[in-house]
């Protein structure tokens, strides 16, 4: 058995992912490219009995002149000094490149291809979307193309699987031959000045080709593998007055001039059809008035779907973990280990997994919209409005995803090339009400308005819910506007977005996408929520000195006096214990600060625990009000509804306090996992800390205002 590594490269929208899924099936995993947080999908396929290939799916890229972090990967991988030798020092060694081009837009997809050819890798040109080409009566003479470009050319369809077995055979042949089938078909003809510089760099660093040296020249400012000393050397050779941009344009023109005639020769295209099906759809969907209406209609449908479809599986998961906790509790002997397992570990796991249905459904619907090509239209429609708030049209994808979970939403911002706009999108996305806030809203909304209250036709609770979501959106836009005023950047911002032809989404692609995103959420968020649950359990179960024992004794005596039954007694003990615990102490410690918001120390505990993850709120409330950790929302609500202030005798959860608490949850950054992802994506704690501070300040001031006005 021989093992090989093959890179899959192509322009955005070339159907590369479908092809990748066809080649590798479910044998995929997602990692990171060396040193950067760009998703690297890899998958294994057996080409023959003896040949096993690891395919690496590179992000869609237009050329060796990248404009976003995702696009930089191709150049930084293949411009490595050791890229062409057989022993890569740090990078990965690739045995061949499968270049994927869309037949229906062959010409523009050949630019990157022609650049890659100059690096001398064994390459296979794959003409994708052969099924669409047939429908549109596009005919390619691939034999001529193969001869002209001097490499194997295969027509495939990533959608139908047509030509895949042929492609596998061709890849196997190329791998076995090991000939580098490099040639000078596309050699870039340098100008005198360019040649001097390229050769100087090539000699200085001992690089294999002039073109590779040229990539060092063009990208020496950021190529991650260059040392500071190397950068200085390159700068001294290139000099300030040399116009890199101009030579980039020259190179691009020269390449088009080279392959355009070839494409004209091999491609027969029926150009009579001008008004396609896709154009007809766009006439409605991107209409200046209808477009936005359709978009908001879709969003409402999506959120409806999430809340109506996810309920049942969520109840199942909840019940499952309840049963598991009980089962484990019954098997194990009483003691600390049992409590840790049932109240810490299992409860923590349940807290993570309960969100899978909502997140999976949201990603399913969003990736349907993305796969079909609709998202690009949404970006077109809202780019201008978004920019007023310091965002980019592409931010709309993140803001919509943020309705499920900020973590994958923040990861989706990598397609925004302008750093300032990307940063602002990352900073404000967590203000969009995510699914973790829902349980909190559900518990508290009842204390603000009664379930049977109506305002005209509208249920008041529904309106409050909608109001909270709107408040989150407004806060996100407002914060974006402020950041726009504060942050300064010289970097140009572009829209320049391809509006691909609508395609029926491939269910296989969509499901794989849902699977990956959900897995990311479970792992990324899970780690944190899991650890925090254990810490919380510890804080709520232990107390300084012997206060725990004292609290228990006190409660037992009190229970005897009041002649409570067993359950009531247990509840009283639990409640006294949490008051004595570390968590109780902390709650009382911060009480003076949160008093002006209408919160007591018990709510204080819930706020502290919620800073790990919002959804912990309900569980914490259940523990504090001693109704057992498997309490249903209903019993928590019932218990909270009767809670009175010991001194004044007033209800604790009056309208003012409850609304104040709701406002706090709308604005506050209560998710450690998101902070961790923000740190990872912005490469510093600075922005995570700023985000935490501004959101907490917003929450505090918002709640203060609401409570002081209402009480």
């Amino acid at each position: 058995m021989q093992n090989f590594k093959v890179a899959l490269i192509g322009n955005p929208n070339c159907g590369k992912s479908s092809l990748f899924n066809q080649l590798t099936g479910l044998r995929q995993k997602v990692g990171n490219f060396h040193g950067v947080t760009v998703d690297k999908k890899s998958g294994v396929a057996n080409l023959t009995k003896d040949i096993k290939v690891n395919f690496i799916d590179f992000p869609g890229t237009y050329s060796f002149y990248p404009t976003s972090i995702d696009e930089r990967i191709v150049v930084s991988t293949f411009a490595r000094p050791d890229a062409l030798s057989d022993n890569w020092k740090e990078g990965e060694q690739f045995d061949a490149i499968v270049y994927v081009a869309d037949i229906t837009q062959l010409e523009k997809h050949l630019l990157l291809f022609s650049q890659i050819r100059n690096l001398g890798f064994p390459t296979i040109l794959t003409l994708n979307m052969s099924d669409v080409a047939k429908e549109e009566s596009i005919i390619v003479k691939s034999e001529i193309l193969s001869k002209q470009f001097n490499l194997p050319v295969v027509e495939v369809s990533g959608r139908t699987g047509e030509g895949i077995s042929e492609l596998k055979k061709v890849i196997a042949n190329v791998l076995l031959e090991k000939n580098k089938n490099s040639n000078n078909t596309f050699a870039y003809h340098f100008s005198e000045e360019e040649k001097k510089i390229a050769q100087a760099i090539q000699v200085e660093f001992g690089l294999e080709s002039e073109y590779q040296a040229w990539l060092w020249v063009q990208h020496h400012e950021w190529l991650p593998f260059l040392s500071a000393a190397q950068r200085i050397t390159i700068k001294s050779i290139v000099t300030e007055k040399f116009d890199l941009l101009k030579s980039q344009v020259r190179e691009t023109m020269q390449r088009y001039d080279r392959f355009s005639p070839v494409v004209a020769k091999v491609l027969k295209k029926d150009t009579s059809a001008t008004d396609t099906w896709s154009d007809k759809v766009d006439r409605v969907v991107t209409h200046s008035v209808m477009g936005p209406i359709i978009f908001f209609g879709l969003m409402i449908l999506i959120f409806q779907a999430i809340f109506s479809w996810a309920g049942y599986p969520m109840d199942l998961i909840d019940a499952g973990f309840g049963a598991l906790s009980e089962g484990v509790g019954a098997i194990l002997p009483e003691g600390m280990f049992r409590d840790l397992l049932t109240e810490g570990v299992i409860a923590g796991l349940g807290g993570v997994l309960i969100f899978i249905p909502q997140i999976a459904i949201l990603f399913f619907l969003i990736s349907l919209l993305e796969e079909s090509g609709y998202m690009a239209r949404a970006v077109y429609l809202f780019d201008h409005s978004m920019r007023r708030f310091g965002l980019n049209g592409r931010s709309i994808v993140a803001l919509v995803s943020g309705g499920a979970c900020a973590i994958p939403a923040i990861m989706s911002t990598r397609t925004i090339s302008n750093w300032k706009e990307r940063l602002i999108t990352i900073m404000v996305t967590p203000l969009i009400s995510c699914s973790a806030r829902l349980p909190v809203y559900a518990v508290l909304v009842g204390f603000v308005v009664a379930a049977d209250q109506y305002w005209g036709w509208f249920n008041m609770q529904g309106l409050v819910f909608m109001g909270l979501y709107l408040l989150g959106i407004l806060a996100a836009l407002g914060a974006g506007w402020v950041f726009k005023k504060i942050l300064k950047t010289e970097e140009a911002s572009y829209l320049m977005l391809e509006l691909p032809v609508y395609r029926r989404p491939l269910i296989r692609n969509v499901l794989l996408n849902v699977y990956e995103k959900t897995k990311t959420f479970v792992i990324e968020a899970g780690k944190v929520i899991f650890v925090i649950s254990i810490v919380l359990w510890f804080m709520a179960s232990f107390a300084p000195g012997n206060q725990m024992e004292l609290a228990e004794q006190q409660a037992t005596t009190q229970a005897l006096e009041l002649q409570l039954d067993d359950t009531e007694k247990e509840n009283l003990i639990a409640s006294k214990k949490i008051e004595a615990s570390y968590a109780g102490h902390l709650g009382k410690f911060i009480e003076p600060v949160i008093r002006p918001l209408g919160f007591d120390w018990k709510i204080g505990i819930a706020l502290i625990t919620s800073f790990a993850a919002r959804e912990v709120f309900v569980g914490t409330m259940a523990t504090i009000y001693s109704i057992g950790s498997e309490a249903e929302e209903v019993s928590v609500i019932d218990r909270m509804a009767t809670e009175r202030n010991l001194e004044t005798g007033e209800l604790v959860y009056n309208r003012a306090t409850s609304l104040s608490l709701l406002i706090f949850y709308v604005f506050a950054m209560q998710c450690m996992s998101t902070l961790a992802v923000v740190k990872r994506e912005t490469k510093s704690w600075k922005w995570a800390v700023i985000q935490f501070l501004f959101m907490t300040a917003l929450a505090y001031l918002g709640s203060l205002l609401v409570y002081q006005v209402m009480s």
Partner: protein
Amino acid sequence: MRLSELKIGQKRAVESFEDSQMGGKLMTMGMIPGSLIELVRKTAAGKTFYIKVNGYGMALRLSEASKIFLKPS
């Protein structure tokens, strides 16, 4: 004329780009001098353009469109 002055439905070929950084990026996306541009529609505010470049859809900002020179017909 500039692309921003194009009327809906009108077609013209690209002549040059005022901003070469933007031009470089557009060229990698398939818009090169000589490419045929058609203005399909604009958003309500008129700030974003839906164009076709040699028949392929693309979205541009008004600011970007105003830096693209078109050949006189």
